[in-house]
Structure formats: C-alpha cells, structure tokens
C-alpha cells in the first residue's frame, strides 16, 4: 500500500533527524517518543526547558491527525505545557491529511525554543526570574541541572549557606546532646541524612544537588564575572572578598577541574551573561542585609530541630550557635549586580553565551 510506505518513509525521516532522541515504538501506524531540546540550547546552561512528546497515529493517518501528548518535561509549568501541546495539536489539525510528523516535530521544537527561558517567579523570594516589564532589572539566576528548577543565584546561595550553617549548628548541638536517647539521634540522622556534606536538596522538588553546582555560581559571582569587561564598572574588588570565605575559595579551587568537566558534561547552570551593570543601581527588592543583621544573627539561637517521641517532653534549650556570618557575605556584591533594560524576551540573543562562540 503506497500510503503505508509513505508513512514508513516519514517515520524514517523523523528518526534521521532526531537520531537517538527519537524512540520508535511502532512504525506503522506510527507511535513515536521524541525528546526535544530548544534549538537555542546547544549547551546545557543555555537550556531551561526540555520535553519528550509522544505521537500516536492511527492506521487512518494521515487522514486522521495523530494524538499528541507529553511524556515528560522539565522547566515547563502546567500552563506552558498546555500551551506547547495545544500548539502542536493545532498544527496537526491544520495539516490534516498531509504527512506531518516531521513538521509537527519542527513545530514542537520551535515552540520549545520560544519558551527557552525560565518562567515565573523565583521560588525563594517569589519575585520574577525574568521581569515582564523591562523597567525592572534582571537578577542573575541559576538552574539546578537535575530538575531545571531556577532560582536567583543570590537566593539559592543564601539558602545554601543557611543549610550549611544549620548543619553546623546541628552537629554542635548533637555533640552536646550525647545523653539523649539514641532514638533521637537516629531520627536526627534521618532528617538530615539528605543533607550530607556537600549536597543539598532542591527547595522545590527536593531532588539532591551538589555543592559543585553552587560552587560554580560562586565562581561566577566572584572572580569570573568581575573579569568581564562589560561588568567592570560595578564592583569594587573589596566587596568581592565578602562574597566567599576562605574555605569557599579553597573549595572552589579544589573543584575547579571538576567544574570544567561538569560544564562540558552538561553539569551546569549559568547566570545570564549579557548583564550590563551600572554603578549605583538598586535592586527591586532590597537584599542588603548587611552587618547589622549578621551581628544579630550571632546572638540568635538556632531553633535546632531534634526529635522525640511524637512530641517529647522538654527539649533542652538549643545550644547557642557559634558564628553565623553567612547572612551578609554575598549579598553586598549581588546588590550591585544589575542588568539594564535589555530585551528580556528574546531568547535567541538573551541566552547566547559569549564564550561559546569561541568554540569550547
């Protein structure tokens, strides 16, 4: 049957285009899973969305348009998922009775490319990752590789430091709590078992991520970004020192090699590069917590969480924490970081990583 041959040839064409990203579950009638990345994302840190769509055609295809659905996706909220799907389905109806598989895939990639920017708000501060109106500054943000959840770099780093500090506090208080029933200790391990040294969990989906991911951001925030000539105007070098503590610098060096590797292996995240920073600009949300806060923090008691039996009796007052100086460290630097009214909805330009052009 001529029609069937044509369809088979079409499936082959899709396979040829998408290679390993195309899974043919059935050739006729076609049943395909195709994993798609935005066209604008040749390297992982330019990528904020991805999707696997399935196309299931009936024997009547192409007279009857195929069913199209999402198998999996990252970086797309429900609304954007719907949008993506309805675009492809619409296209399928338009093309009714034509061979359309290749075109549908193209359409999907096209739409995905147009959506290749993080959407919505930073889950930590609830301010938009990419402001709608161009009056507002875009803060540098980052993406966790495992789940594509995005955060302002500053917000996730603050969160990270808080976790690290809580851990220290915890181990301090558990050392002082040797007399407690072992049951408690075990449960404590349970609770914080996820936060092993050098690892944390995504605040949104709790998928584990590694220190390296954050180190990378620190790297950018610290030495790297300041070496960019376009950013020269902003940072007095003194401020940078506040950003990373000695130990972080050490760790950073240690991880440098790994980072390189990881970057190449699609390990990471990248804040936007086309920031234009002007001195004296201020953030939409004030983030300078400054020394006063960190001083307060040192007095503050940690509410160390321990566990008992359901609700156990009295807890010992949590032991006082040592130094909690994480609060102020990086914020000063970030608060001077700004982008200026660039075209924030033009993914193609927006996400291009300059270095990349030089071939890596």
């Amino acid at each position: 049957m001529a029609a069937e041959e044509e369809v088979l040839a079409e499936v082959e064409a899709v396979e040829a285009v998408y290679g390993g990203d195309c899974l043919v579950l059935n050739s006729f009638p076609p049943h395909l899973h195709i994993s798609m990345k935005p066209r604008t994302a040749d390297v992982s840190f330019e990528q904020f969305v991805e999707a696997t769509i399935k196309i299931i055609a009936s024997p009547q295809y192409p007279k009857e348009p195929p069913c199209i659905d999402l198998v999996d996706c990252k970086g797309l909220d429900e609304q954007r998922q719907k949008h993506l799907l309805s675009c492809i389905r619409e296209k399928a109806h338009e093309l009714s009775s034509c061979l359309m598989l290749v075109t549908l895939c193209e359409e999907a990639v096209e739409k995905l490319s147009a959506m290749n920017h993080p959407d919505g708000d930073c889950p930590l501060c609830l301010y938009p990752l990419v402001p709608e109106d161009q009056q507002n500054e875009t803060l540098p943000f980052m993406k966790l590789m495992s789940c594509f959840h995005c955060f302002h770099s500053e917000c996730i780093i603050r969160c990270w430091h808080w976790l690290q500090n809580t851990k220290e506090t915890d181990s301090a208080s558990s050392a002082g709590a040797a007399g407690r029933p072992t049951q408690n200790m075990e449960n404590r391990k349970d609770m914080h078992g996820k936060m092993k040294e050098g690892a944390g969990n995504c605040p949104v989906c709790r998928k584990p991520f590694h220190a390296k991911d954050l180190e990378h951001v620190l790297d950018l925030v610290g030495s790297h970004s300041s070496s960019q000539s376009s950013l020269d105007s902003k940072l007095p070098t003194g401020d940078e020192k506040l950003l990373v503590s000695e130990s972080e610098i050490t760790r950073r060096l240690k991880f440098e090699a790994i980072l390189k590797l990881q970057e190449e292996n699609s390990g990471l995240i990248e804040p936007k590069r086309d920031l234009v920073v002007l001195p004296g600009m201020f953030l939409p949300q004030p983030v300078t917590t400054s020394t006063k806060e960190s001083a307060e923090q040192q007095e503050k008691d940690p509410s160390a969480v321990a566990s008992g039996k359901h609700a156990s009796g009295n807890s010992n007052g949590p032991s006082s924490s040592g130094h909690r100086n994480f609060g102020a460290r990086k914020q000063r630097v970030r608060s001077d970081h700004h982008s200026k009214g660039h075209s924030s909805r033009k993914p193609v330009q927006q996400w291009v990583r300059k270095e990349n052009a030089n071939g890596k």
Partner: protein
C-alpha cells in the same frame, strides 16, 4: 532567651518582609480554598480562618490558625498553631500545636503560607477520627511555660493520620 517565641518577636529581616508582602499580595489575588486571612496591620503574625472541607469530619467547622514569622523567614519555618479551640485531630494537641513535618524538619524555603494551609487542610480532611494524640496531656503539660512547638522534638508518625 532560648525560646523561639522571643526570637519570633525579633523584627522581620528585609528579605522576610519582602517575601511576606509578596505572599500577602498573592494571597489576596488567589487565596487557598477554605481559608480566610484576617486582615491586620501585623505582617509578622497572620491569623487565618480555616473552614473544614465539605464531606470531611470537619465540614462547616471553623478554626483559627496563628502563623508567626521568624526573623529569617523563609529560611526558618514559621510557627503555626491553632488558636483555642483547636480541632480534635490525632495530630493536633489541645494547646494548638500541630504535628506536621513540613512545619519543622521538612520545611523548605520554597513553601509558602498558602502551601502550609493546603497541607493542614489536607491533614484535617484525611482524618477518620476526631480525637487527640495519645500523649496529649503529657505534652500539653510540658508546654505550660508557653513553649513554642518549634522547640519540640517531634517524632513524625506515618501518614495514616
């Protein structure tokens, strides 16, 4: 000194303030179903009215939640308790303290007042029996000095309510 009620009274940090204002606006636009925020000018303490979901043991009953935000919200979890009278529930003590992991160990700074409310309502809704936790009396006695639930060492049971 060590009580977190004292620390809760510490003024909100700027970050906390901004975040809460954002949450409040979002709440006004899109409040979680079954909840009503009682308007006050106190950003640091929210009182929220919750109405039991239809078809559950708490249908048509109304309770009040008091949410106190610490200085470093959302890094630190807010303190959430039921005001008197607290609903009869196997995970809710008569003094209003709630045994719910996300309020303590499992708190994440990506959670919001809204998401807490939804969790609490679902905890209420899934209850099959109106009763206090087994250790209610002992626990409440231990809390007489006004201890915050955040100082309690919680042991979370399975989710069978």
């Amino acid at each position: 000194m060590t009580s977190s009620s004292a620390s809760a009274r510490k003024a909100l940090s700027k970050i906390a303030c901004n975040r809460l204002q954002k949450e409040l606006v979002e709440w006004q636009v899109n409040p979680p179903a079954g909840f009503k925020h009682k308007v006050t000018d106190n950003l640091q303490r929210w009182v929220i009215e919750v109405t039991g979901a239809p078809g559950t043991l708490y249908a048509n009953e109304t309770y009040q939640l008091q949410v106190d935000f610490p200085e470093h919200y959302p890094m630190e979890a807010p303190q959430v308790i039921f005001l008197h009278p607290a609903p009869m529930h196997p995970h809710i003590y008569s003094n209003g303290h709630i045994c719910l992991d996300i309020l303590y160990d499992s708190w994440s700074p990506a959670m919001t007042v809204s998401s807490i409310c939804i969790s609490i309502l679902s905890m209420l809704s899934s209850s099959t029996v109106k009763q206090r936790p087994e250790d209610n009396d002992r626990y409440v006695k231990n809390c007489r000095n006004g201890r915050s639930p955040k100082e309690t060492r919680w042991w979370f049971h399975d989710d069978k309510v």
